[in-house]
Amino acid sequence: MIRGVIVMNDRGKPRLVKFYEFQPAEKQQELIRSIYRVLCSRAENVSNFVKVDSLFGQDVRLVYKTFATLYFVFIFDSSENELAMLDLMQVFVETLDKVFSNVCELDVVFNFNKVHTILEEFILGGQVLETNSSEVVKTVEEILKMERAANSIKVVPSIPGWQGR
């Protein structure tokens, strides 16, 4: 089972936090800080895996990868395969890239609801739901279309961030 997904920037600021078992806010902060400390201490060109059983309990590890300024972190237990998680992360980021076209940190910051939507299509309740990037893009685009349709009825002016996507 996947315990959590965290996206944070290289200064330890969380950009997206999703735990699949409820964690109170303070505990979340503590975990994020500890994970950030661990990640900072990692040298370059080492493996993408870290054992974090001191934070999450027996046999829990995390996979992380840096994309430009962001750390993507998946935390999971022994029922998942490390390398596959790394690739799932890649699929996730590729999907973000497709949805946002050239995704950058600011996209993730300002549209974290959209990022959550995408993540929900991949992982539900800690289980991998879908691994197919194009399927997810299709679904997410449909959701966005629906939302836009609902939006345009109202008097709110057009939202540039969503245009042309």
Binding site: E120, G125, E147, P157
Partner: protein, 949 residues
């Protein structure tokens, strides 16, 4: 674009993020966020607020909470928003609620109704949003409220909904297995879903279910193998391909399931051999995901009933992993090696140098994984090297959690495989010194027991040698500052018991040291107690030996201090010490017999020595004792099995006393009782807690009973529980036993000599530039393989001989390092209690049923139906999965022509510059950002760099 900022968010929100991004300290950030919270509080409570403003405030709330601040004042607005009709608002509401609330929150009750309504919605996206919320928010109590609808949705026409419904049901199962146990067959049904996505999602719950109960799912082996075969043959839609691999994630999940189903089941395993072989052959080892599948196949091969051919290809793959440059692959290689050596231990041999490289790698994760591997392959021949390495590493790290783990592993290995007592004590000293507070106190007691009992042989000189060396090392260590409490307890106990035993050190020297220790740790009562008891022992040994006792002045003051101690335990010990010192030699000898801590204590349960006294009392007119169950009037009134000291005429009773918990409770005669049968009185627990004599009144009668806690029966030779390699009656362990006793007999085993030779020769040829140091290490870890290694390992032996502590150890090293004889054997000897390796070679090379035929038979639709229905799956006509997928793949292809296929990300990026709109869009975005005022600062220069760039 005017009032709105970029990214669909308001200027305010952009400003907030900008200012937080530029905050120079945590305090500054907190100030900004608190201000934001105040703003939000004010805004949310204002009466006329548009829904879309509200939505934005909610997003800001989520953001604030993500930064670690309490946003609970806004939860109710999130709950309200889920009631909204608009999909956008509803989804935002659900998102906020799932992030804010846990499933036991009071507000959940307000959402359940909405969820119920949304699950019935015509719009499948609304249903999906509700299902997302269901997975997060429904607890055991609310499951029944939504369960019927979720079950209904399992048959929804949209695959996205079915998929999520499966997951929701799985989540219910995790939360409260009882509530959905009657619905578990639905998972089996969904396995045959037309949509591969739904099928793949179903694998998650099935994996969990199979983990819990393998046997109920054995009938699905055929189906899983079948699906895996179809996936591997690329019968799924092209869109499931990832890096040219057919649906690798599904393959991995299936392999995981198969490894559970095939574990220890020969019949099921045989059905998997063909497809596993195919997958391992076809897998693309150049891509990340290909290696993930390969790794999972290895795990599966190692878990199921062994097949020599598959094991061989697993070994090949592992060596590829280990030889690769990627740390990730090395990590997986080491992990897989750990799995494989359980089945074929000789494989470690070929990879010794790679393993050592990993051990010295700067990557901590890899290092730890390698220690895991070493831990698994430790045996008597290499325990010294491995434990030494572990201790070095343990000293070098700061992570408490891992330090504890590695310390307890060191202890475990040392207990199991220690070649000699001296080595064991030295190792324990090191562990205690550096991680004493982290190890279990049981370990300390084991150590004391070992020193007290030695090897349990009749060899008394060896035992006393051991004790002397322990005493010597402890006297050296005791003065050091910051020793862990547990370790000091051991030291005090050993010094008290054996400090003066060999006559090397005077009593005053040792008592001086003990007093220093007690003073230096004046806050630690346990240490002080141990020290005082040790003093008492030393003095009584002195008295018993007829020497005059001069108490050192610091001793005197220590005792005086303790006489007035707040701890009654310390007080008692001090009083006892005082009392004993005044006694004559004979009495003291009885109280404190020399080296009596291992003696069995005989307890006179009938207390027959009191018979005369009882008789006397009876004659004087006392009432005879009546056992409790024979007393008529009282038996009903007392629920406790109370300990009546009194005969029934007296009203006074002592029901508050608990029954003694220890299995052999020390018994104290109760003076007033008037029969032969006496009731045990619970001893004050502290007496039993410390290895020291109880009150002097007791000791006269039970003089030997002092060391209750340390009496451990049946402990001989080895201390820990045995593992598979030590229990085995193989040549390797018998060899080490021999060397333990001081006789080396390595010539007796050399059967696999020549074979091992060749292997190591090969590996040497491939890597000629390996440093001699590494080879030495390899030789000692893996039992030195080749002739050329031999010389070096001999020199290694010399080095270690100089600092070896006894004949035992050097003998063992000789055994280990005179390479191609003794030490090689352990690696090449398969542990007998694993599955027999000889058998599968015969059966699998000529299986009774051709697995291919079976599979083909299964693919036939009619047969498929019968198979499935007979296996209890309630599908009226099971669809032919294969043909359905074939159809799907056709349609999938046609769609992929319309939308460009999911490219590998590199090519996607490479194309970017040529695509006009993309660049333009990017520039627009950039301009927008600048306009908004969030510019890349010095602190964050890469802010605008594409994530994938």
């Amino acid at each position: 674009m005017s009032s709105q900022g970029g990214f669909g968010q308001s200027k305010e929100f952009l400003d907030l993020i900008k200012s937080i991004g530029e905050a120079r300290s945590k305090a500054e950030e907190d100030r900004i966020v608190l201000r934001e919270i105040d703003t939000l509080k004010a805004r949310l409570s204002s009466p006329n607020i548009t829904k879309f403003k509200l939505k934005e405030y909610l997003m800001r709330l989520i953001y604030v909470e993500m930064l670690g601040h309490d946003a609970s004042f806004g939860y109710i607005h999130a709950v309200k928003m889920t009631h909204d009709e608009s999909l956008l608002l509803k989804r935002t509401g659900y998102l906020a609620v799932t992030l804010f609330l846990n499933e036991d929150h009071d507000l959940i009750i307000l959402i359940v109704n909405t969820i119920q309504k949304d699950l019935r919605s015509d719009n499948y996206l609304v249903v999906c949003a509700a299902l997302n919320a269901v997975c997060r928010l429904i607890n055991e109590e609310t499951i029944p409220a939504v369960l019927p609808q979720v079950v209904e949705l399992l048959g929804h026409q949209k695959e996205a909904v079915r998929k999520k419904a499966v997951m929701a049901l799985h989540r219910f199962y995790q939360r409260a297995p009882g509530s959905v146990s009657h619905l578990i067959s639905n998972f089996r049904k969904r396995l045959c879903d037309n949509d591969p996505g739904v099928m793949a999602a179903t694998l998650c719950p099935l994996f969990d279910l199979i983990t819990i109960d393998v046997n109920s799912y054995k009938d699905l082996v055929v189906s899983f193998v079948n699906i895996l075969k179809q996936v591997a043959e690329r019968r799924l839609p092209k869109s499931y391909d990832y890096h040219q691999m057919p649906a690798p994630f599904i393959q991995i999940k299936l392999l995981k399931i198969l490894s559970l189903l095939g574990n220890g089941d020969k019949k099921s395993s045989e059905q998997m051999y063909t497809i596993l072989g195919d997958i391992m052959r076809k897998c693309d080892s150049a891509s990340n995901i290909g290696n993930a599948v390969l790794y999972e196949s290895i795990c599966c091969v190692c878990s199921i009933h062994p097949n020599p051919k598959l094991l061989e290809s697993a070994a090949d793959t592992i060596s590829k992993f280990l030889k690769g440059d990627s740390h990730n692959l090395k990590y997986l290689g080491i992990d897989a090696l750990g799995l494989l050596i359980r089945i074929s231990p000789e494989i470690a041999e070929q990879h010794q140098l790679a393993v050592i490289d990993c051990l010295e790698d700067p990557d901590d994760t890899l290092k730890r994984k390698t220690f895991d591997l070493l831990y698994k392959m430790t045996k008597s021949s290499n325990v010294e090297v491995i434990v030494d390495r572990m201790i070095d590493y343990m000293i070098s790290i700061n992570d408490h959690h891992y330090k504890t783990e590695i310390a307890s592993r060191c202890v475990e290995l040392a207990e199991q495989f220690a070649p000699s007592n001296q080595w064991f004590i030295q190792t324990m000293n090191k562990v205690f010194e550096h991680a004493g507070d982290l190890v279990n106190t049981k370990v300390a007691h084991n150590l004391m027991r070992l020193i007290a009992e030695g090897f349990g042989e009749d060899d008394n000189t060896a035992d006393s040698q051991l004790r002397s060396s322990a005493v010597e090392s402890y006297l050296r260590i005791i003065g050091e500052p910051k020793l862990p409490s547990t370790f000091l307890q051991v030291i005090c106990w050993v010094l008290g018991e054996y400090g003066t035993a060999d006559g090397k050190y005077s009593a005053s020297y040792i008592t001086g040291k003990l007093c220093d220790a007690a003073e230096a740790h004046s806050t630690d009562d346990t240490v002080k107690a141990y020290a005082v008891t040790a003093l008492m022992k030393i003095y009584s040994f002195e008295i018993a030996a007829g020497r005059k006792v001069d108490m050192l002045p610091e001793c005197q003051s220590l005792v005086e201090e303790l006489l007035a101690s707040h701890s009654t335990d310390l007080q008692q010990r001090a009083y006892e010490l005082q009392a004993i010192i005044c006694l004559d030699a004979r009495a003291v000898e009885n109280i404190m017999p020399m080296d009596a801590n291992c003696e069995d204590i005989e307890i006179d349960k009938n207390l027959s020595f009191l018979d005369a006294y009882v008789q006397e009392s009876l004659e004087k007119g006392a009432q005879p004792y009546i056992p409790e169950d024979e007393r008529s009037g009282l038996s009903t009134s007392s629920n406790f099995r109370s300990q009546d000291h009194e005969s029934s005429t007296h009203a006074l009773r002592f029901e508050a006393y608990e029954l003694p918990k220890s299995s052999v409770p020390p018994k104290v005669p109760s003076v007033l009782s008037s029969s032969v049968e006496l009731v045990p009185v619970h001893e004050p627990s502290y007496v039993a807690d410390f290895p020291q004599p109880a009150t002097s009144a007791l000791t006269v009668s039970n003089s030997g009973s002092s060391e209750l806690k340390l009496r451990l029966d049946g402990v001989q030779k080895k201390w820990g529980r045995p593992t598979f390699s030590s229990t085995t009656p193989s040549t390797s362990s018998s060899d080490t036993f021999e060397s333990n006793n001081g006789t080396t007999r390595h010539e007796s085993i050399s059967s696999t000599k020549s074979k091992v030779h060749d292997v190591s020769y090969d590996s040497r040829k491939q890597q000629p530039e390996i440093s001699s140091e590494k080879q030495k290490l390899a030789a000692s870890l893996f039992g030195g393989a080749s002739k050329s290694d031999r010389k070096q390992s001999y020199s290694g032996q010399k080095v270690s001989k100089t600092n070896s502590h006894g004949a035992d150890k050097s003998d063992l090293i000789k055994a280990a390092s005179s390479s191609d004889t003794a030490a090689v054997i352990p690696t090449s000897q398969p542990p007998p209690d694993l599955l027999d390796l000889g058998e599968p070679t015969v059966t699998s090379s000529a299986p009774s049923v051709d697995p291919f035929k079976q599979l083909e038979g299964l693919l036939d639709p009619t047969q498929d139906t019968t198979k499935l229905s007979s296996s209890g799956v309630s599908v009226p006509n099971a669809p032919d999965i294969m043909s359905l997928y074939a159809d799907m793949s056709l349609s999938g292809q046609s769609t992929t022509v319309a939308n460009p296929p999911p490219n590998a990300i590199e090519t996607h990026l490479a194309k970017q510059p040529s695509k006009g709109p993309n660049v333009q869009e990017f520039l627009e975005k950039d301009a927008l950002v600048r306009q908004v005022g969030v510019t890349p600062s010095g602190q964050n220069p890469n802010l605008f760099k594409d994530l994938l760039g």
